[in-house]
């Protein structure tokens, strides 16, 4: 278990993609030539001053995209953090302790799986005050079930291992066993599930923002695409407006997916 | 000679390339019962699967295994399908997952017969029920209509022995038939093997007592090498190889005298040399080289202790240095 995850070409590519976007997100104020909210002049085509032109209200699209990286990644990563965290904690409790806790958690998981996720997310967004964290909560609310199920099965297998059983009978505190033995053994699954959760959350966010249900105080890539689409940029052939968000969303989601999928395959093969 | 295994080696191509079986040779005559004894990971089960072409694609098998004169290692799938199950058959571990969980045991026992003798499903299952009764799996027909999950390990094992002989195979290759079974069930499996009067058996086991019960000859494997091969009586009463001696001394009825140390993981072996050297009482400088297979007092033994002794003779082409 102390072996490093050896990355193959696909997973490395994913890692590079994510690194690229992370750098943009961190250095957004340095990279972006304008304040994304500053209104200059509407519908300018690409030029030296505005490499991706300006939008309907005259904001620099390139700057919007650069700052959008922050918003999209922020929502994706934090939603995935909640999803994976909740899934892991529930799996540890129900898988390791079993009994009543397991029954209750399994029942909750089953109900959460029976809730259609997109309608609930949309409904929640309507009820919650708009903002990044409302989106994050709405996205995470049903997405943790898969992780919880997979990890629970794994934890149940692990706790039957002889050395863990021995420690259990010796009266070692459950917290010690969980942190020293169980968690290190499931950390690879947690990491790959986490990467998948980020790509999933970013996809949902892109969809919601595109529909105009997202966060508009600060625009994410999905919100940029929303305005591009609903202001008819496709009809007007303003490809500099609608192409960048599509490319960024697709590439970034793919990056996380590559890590989640191929990182896992490599591990399984060994 | 029914089965003649000559210098079979198996290597797995993945990772560092694990050598699982090295130059193993043995023969099984008609109606002879041979056991391969060794610890978990010694490569004995892999040898069995290699003979039957059941290893995954990343396994590289070299050597020859003649079954009734035809080399199974080089056989094509179509030819294999004609003999597997009807002339030479495999009996998986009863405690494992060797039966399809979604099909009835009766059908699975009858399946080789349906496939090879082209008889109807009903008659074949009736035949399976007869055989299953013979092995005391159950007296009612319903037992055959049940699914594997209702069976105990011992019942599964006996059902799979029935499955092995139903289509008239002369040769059974069995994998760890006593693993995971208690004394009483082992007894029943022993009885089942004893009743295989007409079949030859090549059986892999870690259980020396079981081997003593059923076999005519015993081959001992340690860390992918065959270290000793002799008739069962000879081997158990006058073991030559230090590993065989230690193994027999460690049996409960002999007072559980364990030799020190552990069998190592595959990747820890040095290239060449006797694999047992690190645990061996007689280990000497010479043991850094791979010992040849020698023929001593009717045994075949791979150990430097017996070189230069009276009666020593290099066993037929088995002793090639690796």
């Amino acid at each position: 278990m102390h072996k490093k995850i050896r990355l193959n070409a696909a997973a490395t590519a994913g890692l590079l993609i994510i690194l690229f976007f992370l750098i943009i997100a961190v250095f957004a104020p340095v990279i972006a030539p304008y304040d994304p909210k500053e209104m200059i002049a509407s519908y300018l085509p690409p030029s030296k001053e505005h490499i991706l032109g300006t939008n309907d209200v005259g904001q620099d699209i390139f700057s919007e995209m650069v700052y959008g990286t922050r918003v999209s990644l922020y929502i994706g990563i934090f939603a995935a953090f909640i999803v994976t965290g909740v899934g892991t904690v529930l799996a540890l409790v129900s898988g390791y302790f079993g009994g009543l806790a397991d029954k209750i958690i399994t029942a909750i998981t089953n109900i959460a799986m029976a809730v259609p996720s997109l309608p609930l997310t949309v409904l929640l967004i309507a009820y919650l005050n708009p903002g990044k964290w409302s989106l994050i909560i709405a996205i995470s609310i049903t997405a943790w079930t898969g992780t919880a199920r997979i990890l629970r099965a794994r934890v149940m297998q692990l706790k039957e291992l002889p050395f863990i059983k021995i420690e259990k009978t010796m009266g070692v505190h459950p917290a010690v066993i969980l942190f020293k033995h169980i968690l290190p053994n499931i950390k690879d699954i947690i990491l790959t599930r986490g990467a998948m959760a980020i790509s999933g959350a970013m996809m949902t966010e892109a969809g919601l923002s595109f529909l105009g249900l997202g966060e508009f105080g600060e625009k994410s890539w999905g919100s940029v695409l929303h305005y591009a689409f609903f202001r008819n940029s496709i009809m007007k052939k303003q490809y500099w407006w609608y192409v960048p968000p599509i490319v960024c969303i697709c590439v970034c989601v793919l990056g996380f997916m590559l890590i989640g999928y191929y990182g896992k395959i490599k591990k399984g093969g060994e | 000679m029914l089965l003649d295994v000559k210098n079979v080696s198996v290597r797995f191509a993945s990772g560092h390339g694990v050598q699982a079986v090295e130059n193993v040779s043995l023969t099984v005559n008609k109606k002879e019962k041979v056991c391969i004894v060794g610890e978990t990971g010694s490569g004995k089960s892999i040898l069995l699967l290699a003979i039957l072409h059941l290893l995954p694609e990343n396994a590289i098998v070299t050597g020859e295994a003649f079954f009734e004169g035809e080399d199974m290692i080089r056989m094509k799938r179509r030819q294999l399908d004609k003999i597997r199950g009807t002339r030479i058959s495999y009996v998986p571990q009863g405690s494992g997952n060797g039966l399809n969980p979604l099909l009835t045991v009766g059908f699975q026992v009858a399946e080789p017969m349906i496939e090879h003798q082209k008889i109807g499903k009903k008659e074949a299952i009736a035949e399976a029920v007869k055989l299953m009764k013979r092995f005391h799996i159950g007296d009612e027909e319903e037992v055959a209509a049940q699914y594997p999950f209702t069976y105990s390990g011992g019942m599964k094992q006996r059902a799979m022995i029935a499955m092995g002989i139903i289509a008239g195979a002369d040769m059974i290759l069995a994998d760890e038939p006593t693993k995971g079974l208690d004394e009483e069930r082992i007894e029943m499996v022993v009885d089942a093997f004893h009743s295989l009067k007409d079949q030859a058996v090549l059986c892999v086991t870690h259980d020396l007592n079981f081997a003593r019960e059923i076999s005519d000859s015993i081959s001992v494997m340690y860390a992918s090498n065959q270290v000793e091969y002799a008739s069962a009586k000879e081997l158990l009463e006058h073991p030559l190889h230090p590993y065989t001696q230690d193994m027999i001394a460690a049996m409960p009825e002999n007072g559980l005298h364990f030799s020190e140390g552990f069998a190592m993981a595959h990747e820890d072996y040095a290239e060449g040399g006797c694999k047992y050297a690190p645990r061996c009482r007689f280990c000497k400088e010479k043991c850094k080289e791979t010992p040849p297979m020698l023929e001593v007092e009717g045994h075949q033994v791979r150990c430097w202790l017996y070189t230069g002794k009276e009666g020593e003779r290099h066993a037929s082409d088995n002793g090639k240095a690796l």
Binding site: I111, M113, A114, V115, P116, L118, P119, V122, L123, L124, I125, A126, Y127, L128, N129, M202, M203, A206, G207, L211, G212, L225, F229, I234, M235, Y242, I246, I249, C250, V253, L254, M257 | L49, H53, L54, P56, R77, L80, K82, I83, R84, G85, S89, Y90, P92, G96, N97, G98, L99, N100, P101, L102, L103, E111, P112, E115, Y147, F149, T150, M163
Partner: protein, 330 residues
């Protein structure tokens, strides 16, 4: 078997009840006056300051002045009688509004469910049976990438190339106005082609991954080795032994996907102006038409629960371990 299914049916009812209850309290545990959600924040504060009378009328109209248990009771009664009142936007009954839209969604989702499910399973079996071979090496990355493209982006990409540039398909809507008879059918088919292709591609790629991993997992089981050792030809090993076992997870998922046939296509519907269930829900949420939104939500939840129940029954039919002992995850 009967006991097992009876238990599953009971669970389904409990689940539905819990979802209904949660969806009621969702409105009431949210911070602030529930009326805020009805009229929107700005309108609410405007009315509160300038026209409290109208606000009170609204509260009375939606029964928000009753005590919580009374409201809950009324809410349950409305669900049992399928009376969700009029839609806030067009004043027609919510139920008939939504059901009409469902029909249009089913035009897209039923073919998707069947074609995508079968195609994905077929390709997945081929790739999983010979993993690492050419077919697997080509199909897996392609379908993996399809699976990673967010649906809104995928829709736009196809729209831009096939509809705007090449003008092969209509851009928006479900049928051209003013056509009748066969021409109308043809027009509908033309309009549904792009959204349908996208939905089928997604479904195919999802089922491909599932079936591929199920087949390659079963393939490495010991009993497949046993089957090979009996001298069965590959074809029989695949169909009799591998497929039968790989069908268990696939059938489960196939049945469960039925639960998503109303709620799974929201973004695609909105992009293509397909006036189905997804669009209705989207409009309802945008216009704060809560009765409509709530009914859409409950209807799709009921369908999901129903589909899960079916998948449990199908599972029990395939797997004797579940059928006879109720063992799960065996």
């Amino acid at each position: 078997m009967t006991r097992h299914i009876a238990q599953k049916i009971a669970t389904a009812f409990v689940t539905i009840f819990v979802i209904i209850t949660i969806s009621f309290f969702l409105v009431h545990i949210m911070p602030g006056d529930p009326v805020i959600h009805l009229v929107g924040q700005e309108e609410y504060y405007y009315l509160l300051d300038n026209d409290p009378e109208t606000l009170n009328k609204l509260i009375a109209r939606y029964g928000l002045d009753d005590s919580l248990p009374v409201q809950y009771g009324k809410y349950l009664k409305n669900i049992v009688t399928m009376d969700f009142g009029p839609s806030y936007t067009n004043q027609k009954p919510v139920v008939s509004n939504v059901l009409k839209a469902c029909k249009w969604t089913l035009f897209l989702s039923i073919p998707t469910w069947i074609i995508g499910g079968l195609l994905g399973a077929l390709l997945g079996v081929i790739a999983g049976w010979k993993p690492g071979k050419l077919f697997d090496k080509i199909m897996t990355p392609i379908l993996l990438i399809v699976n990673t493209i967010p649906s809104n982006c995928f829709c736009l990409i196809l729209l831009i190339f096939l509809a705007y540039r090449m003008k092969l398909f209509p851009i928006n809507g479900m049928v051209s106005p003013g056509v009748e008879g066969m021409a109308r059918v043809q027009s509908i088919l033309q309009h549904m082609f792009l959204p349908l292709i996208i939905m089928i591609l997604y479904r195919t790629s999802g089922d491909f991954m599932l079936m591929k991993s199920a087949v390659s997992q079963v393939r490495s089981e010991e009993y497949i080795m046993t089957a090979e050792s009996k001298g069965l030809p590959s074809r029989k090993v695949l169909f009799r032994h591998v497929m039968k076992n790989a069908m268990v997870p696939y059938a489960t998922s196939f049945c469960m996907q039925f639960g998503g046939i109303l709620s799974g296509s929201m973004i695609i519907e909105v992009v293509f102006g397909w006036k189905g269930m997804g669009t209705i829900l989207y409009n309802a949420v945008s216009n704060r038409d809560f009765p409509t939104a709530q009914f859409c939500f409950l209807l799709s939840a009921a369908l999901v629960v129903f589909a899960n129940l079916i998948s449990d029954i199908v599972n029990a039919a395939i797997d004797p371990r579940i059928r006879e002992e109720g063992i799960q995850d065996a």
